[in-house]
Symmetry: C2
Subunit: 315 residues, 2 copies
């Protein structure tokens, strides 16, 4: 019998994944549904309940001591509600109460998806052994989370580490969030692609105008594609340096689709970091690629549940 | 007899202050020397030892259980060394070891001066009762510190909260730290004054070109003076919003000489904050003036020592 087994939910705009995870981070049972993101809130909740239903019929379920949720944000851990941007049917939706009801009253820990990824990288991935870390997802958006003093720092509402929406160019272009010059507005995949296109880069015969196509062009030496990644790297470097200067971190872990561009992004990012991370206590900051795969959200949610349920925190 | 009495040192480029402080934050004994900032390191240390000497002859000294140091930065709490910018004779100077030797082996806690001010505001001042706070000093420079989860967050080296040197204008003017567009480069007193002067503001008959004179002109309606404070407020707002977005704070406390400008700064700052603090979890952020006076550094250093010495943290 597993005494330290937890349930985990990873809720995004595309899929809802669930798992039973042991205290070493192994996924023992899993379930998944597509997110009916454009449906009403109850329909979305039914998909969550179907995932939970598959988990609860497992003979391992009775060993689960807690349940962790990593959800697309914003979340409000203090209220137990979520308002994922890409799930309009959920606004201040009482997800914690509904999940607790569907699971017979298990303790539930809610964190944002960037925080969940961070918990996973700290427990099992590239941030392992680092007491002060920033983990980022650079993809369609830019998200993140923090480990401070050896422990996950979700903040009171579970949203801490939102590096995509700090302004590094306070007179810059308007961002969808309402601010200006946010890291995401400059460094997300769509913005890398848009900037390359606006500056004259054109796709190949396949018509692919994604950031991945721009990355391929940059790797082949296209100067406009290279410049677009350099600009993204500059914004990421300013944001990472700001984080290090504010809270002292010694490693920044970069994941997500744009993160997978590899040295096309990381080489100019490390170079730009020397321009912005100038104070003595931030100069030793390492930038490394993420190690966790698509299960990062589940593993991180499990880590948060283990930390809450057992108070012998893996994160 | 005071069982929870601590010693405190506040070390700056102008003065070295020391005190014995009780567990309610009252200063019972104090001593002070001018900082021989341009002398060699040993001469500076002798001034510290003279301050300590005045404290150790007090009959209360035997009750002191620990000693806290708030020092101009950068500091390195992990190494026990300090390298204050304005005290060139001290570079990686082993201040903790020397103070411990001069005090018969008291436990010593070293933090940066911005962190010390924050400890004081959280214990006795404007951040009291707030579990997540940013406290700032806006003066010749811009410094700060953080309270996270109800506790002071000095970071591993004691420098966390260095908001003056995060870049909010990544293509902006070069800063003395080596980066660009730092909050301090835009919002410090000398930069407020410089910008007003460059844009055509001129001092009155007294020839005073300080930020305080620009503040007086702004209060009298001078549009160039007003604009210079608005630009400073914009940079401060972007920095405060970045901090809230990264770690979740619910209050920002503004002290220091420029902070004393009052509504000339705070009104545009609160307005600009609505432009940059846009995500749901940062929208309730309050901005208030500091409450602690010139003893803030001593009281904060004492708070850090009490937290370390007794493990029943006031901060």
């Amino acid at each position: 019998m597993h005494t330290d087994l937890v349930a985990a939910l990873d809720i995004g705009g595309t899929k809802i994944a669930g798992a039973l995870v042991d205290d070493r981070g192994h996924i023992l049972v899993r379930a998944q549904r597509a997110t009916p993101a454009q449906e009403d809130g109850e329909t979305v909740m039914r998909a969550v309940e179907e995932v939970l239903g598959e988990l609860t019929v497992s003979p391992l379920w009775e060993s689960a001591s807690a349940l962790g949720i990593g959800s697309a944000g914003p979340v409000d851990a203090s209220a137990g509600t979520v308002s994922p941007v890409n799930v309009p049917g959920w606004r201040d939706y009482p997800l914690v109460r509904r999940v607790r009801a569907a699971t017979g009253g298990l303790p539930v820990e809610l964190i944002g998806d960037g925080v969940a990824i961070t918990a996973a990288e700290h427990w099992q991935g590239a941030a392992r052994g680092h007491d002060n870390a920033l983990c980022m997802v650079v993809s369609t958006g830019v998200g993140g989370g923090l480990v401070l003093g050896g422990r996950l720092h979700p903040g009171p509402t579970g949203n801490a580490g939102h590096i995509g929406h700090i302004s590094v160019d306070m007179d810059g272009d308007p961002c969808a969030c309402g601010s200006r010059g946010c890291v995401e507005r400059i460094a997300s995949g769509p913005n890398i692609a848009r900037r390359a296109y606006e500056n004259g880069w054109r796709p190949g015969p396949d018509g692919d105008t994604s950031a991945a196509a721009v990355a391929a062009a940059a790797r082949a030496g296209d100067p406009i594609a290279v410049a677009s990644f350099e600009r993204a790297a500059q914004a990421l470097a300013a944001g990472i340096a700001a984080t290090a200067t504010l809270v002292e971190i010694d490693i920044a872990v970069i994941g997500g689709g744009v993160g997978k561009a590899g040295e096309v992004l990381l080489t100019p990012l490390r170079k730009a970091l020397t321009d912005y991370a100038t104070l003595s206590f931030v100069q030793r900051l390492a930038v490394v690629p993420a190690q966790m795969g698509t299960d990062a959200g589940l593993v991180g949610a499990a880590a948060a549940a283990l930390a809450k349920g057992a108070d012998k925190a893996p994160v």
